[in-house]
Amino acid sequence: MVKHIFTLIWNKKKSNFLLFLEILLSFLILFAVFALVIDYLRVYQEPLGFNTENLWIAHLDFDDRTDTLVVEETKANLYRELLSNPDIESVSFADRKSLLSGSSSSWGSDENGFFLQTLLYSSDIGFKKTAELNLVAGRWFNESDKTAKYTPIIINRKLAEGAFKGREVIDSIFTIRKEVKIVGIVDHYNAFGEFEDEDSVALFYEPKESISTPSLYIRTKANANASWEEKANQTIAQITKDKGFVINNLDRQRKEDNKAVWIPMIAMLCICTFLVINVALGLFGILWYNINQRKAEIGLRRTLGASRTDISAQFIGEVLMVVGFAIFVGIGFAIQFPLMKIFDFENINYYYAILGAASVILVVVLICAYYPSRQAALIRPALALHED
């Protein structure tokens, strides 16, 4: 029967070509969208490494010409006054790019005898508690680091298991922009947000009075009174003698950033759904047309001994063969993406996307082919032959 169906399909290749093309293009579009969505979802599942809930940021404007003593005094006052607010749990200073800023500084070199590339951030001692970073090895910065010979840094696991793989890193000296000593490793640190892959990170220690860490991070208590923000605003304005800052909620910012990815992703999936519906309607139409055009053939086959199941199988088999061939060719194209590493996606994403696109198309085809094929099987041979 398979050979018979193949012969029939082959002999009607011209009329089947459009269906083949429709399915091939649909497969490739679904594959592309699925690959993208799967990659986004995979990245989304990875932890950020910090907790944005109840986390706030205010970028303060310290002029480079400001006296370091003034900066030190201002920061010390901010620390003291803000921590005296019962709604605030912790406060720290870090650089402007440290969390969800969308920008970064990077450094790459083979000065250590191996290639090392990493993003660079800096923070004070309180940053671990404020951002809720998870230290997995070594220690966090402490007051003794202020006078240390080498600048202490914390790296993320990605860097530890990447460029430093197989090397003793804790308390080791390396060159990262300058001579540094790695004192600890955090589990994750993905400063770019949930829809970006985590990169290698080196977090430099900066004393809290440093002018290089002008961003004030505030973690409020879970049950903080809503008025804390107004009080904090007044405190900061009073101490910095500046009203040009804004206290932003990092959780809200994270959600807004995510919306910029979710919305196009949902739009793409909606377009795909419409595409699939169109394919389904097209297939349904083609099958009905085919069955109406081939009533005499159905009558003849029934007369010659085909059972109703044979007739259903014939029509479902014909569609499945054309669709199967289109998917096969589609997979031929799709498989080039992982083989040739066209995009920076993990290979498994492509394989899931191939599986997903093929499954969606096959399920739609089976659903669309089932009813018309059942109807074809119910055609009475005498009537069908007479109509012709």
């Binding site: 050979k3 012969t7 009607k12 199941t309 041979p381 012709d388």
Partner: protein
């Protein structure tokens, strides 16, 4: 042997009831070549369809090759048709997208005969009807007479006991009609195949063993 007893066929619509066959009793012994004649719309094709089990009578019983039908379910009837009956139609009913040999193989396909054996039997049948050189052609490349010979090859490929032919020469000129008739006569005489043929052509009918006439659904001769 075909035995029809008290066959009635009524076509009903919401407003009209048409009596297509009225109390037909007919026995066709094995090996007979019977022709059925009558004016258009008298019920000839309906009677042939009932004998071929592709239509059901409203009343009456049918016995073919010792088996009373249609007590069987649809699947068994399809199997019975496939094994015992061969069909030839006025408009040939060849599948244009299949080659001649693939068309002839069709009944064997539904008998689940293997590909190689199917091909061999189809070739043999096509040789019998003189179309050995046309096996890979398509129906669109053949004349009417050749198409009907393909239809005969398809009817005989499964070596059925009975062939039911509905105006097999109706679409052909007289010389081609005679050729087709000669093939059918040869099948009947040499292989003992029972043939029931509906025809409008008196001269063709006279070549058969027996002739019955229908008029308005009644057997008049």
């Amino acid at each position: 042997m075909i035995k029809l007893q008290n066959i009635n066929k009524v076509y009903r619509t919401k407003t009209v009831e048409t009596l297509a066959l009225n109390n037909i009793n007919l026995t066709i012994p094995a090996g007979e070549f019977l022709s059925i004649m009558g004016p258009s719309g008298c019920g000839k094709s309906t009677l042939l369809n009932i004998m071929g089990l592709i239509d059901e009578p409203s009343e009456g019983s049918i016995e073919i090759a010792g088996q009373t039908l249609p007590d069987y379910n649809a699947k068994s009837i399809a199997k019975f048709r496939n094994e015992k009956l061969g069909f030839i139609f006025q408009s040939f009913h060849l599948i244009n997208d299949l080659s001649i040999i693939d068309n002839v193989e069709l009944p064997l396909l539904y008998r689940r005969v293997g590909s190689k054996e199917r091909k061999a039997l189809a070739e043999e049948a096509l040789i019998k009807v003189g179309l050995k050189n046309r096996m890979q052609h398509f129906p669109g490349q053949l004349s009417g007479g050749q198409k009907q010979r393909v239809a005969i090859a398809r009817a005989i490929v499964g070596q059925p006991d009975i062939i039911l032919a509905d105006e097999p020469t109706g679409n052909l000129d007289s010389s081609m009609g005679n050729e087709i008739m000669d093939i059918l006569l040869r099948l009947n005489q040499e292989q003992g195949t029972t043939i029931v043929m509906v025809t409008h052509d008196e001269s063709m009918a006279r070549k058969t063993n027996r002739l019955i006439r229908l008029f308005d659904g009644n057997q008049v001769q």
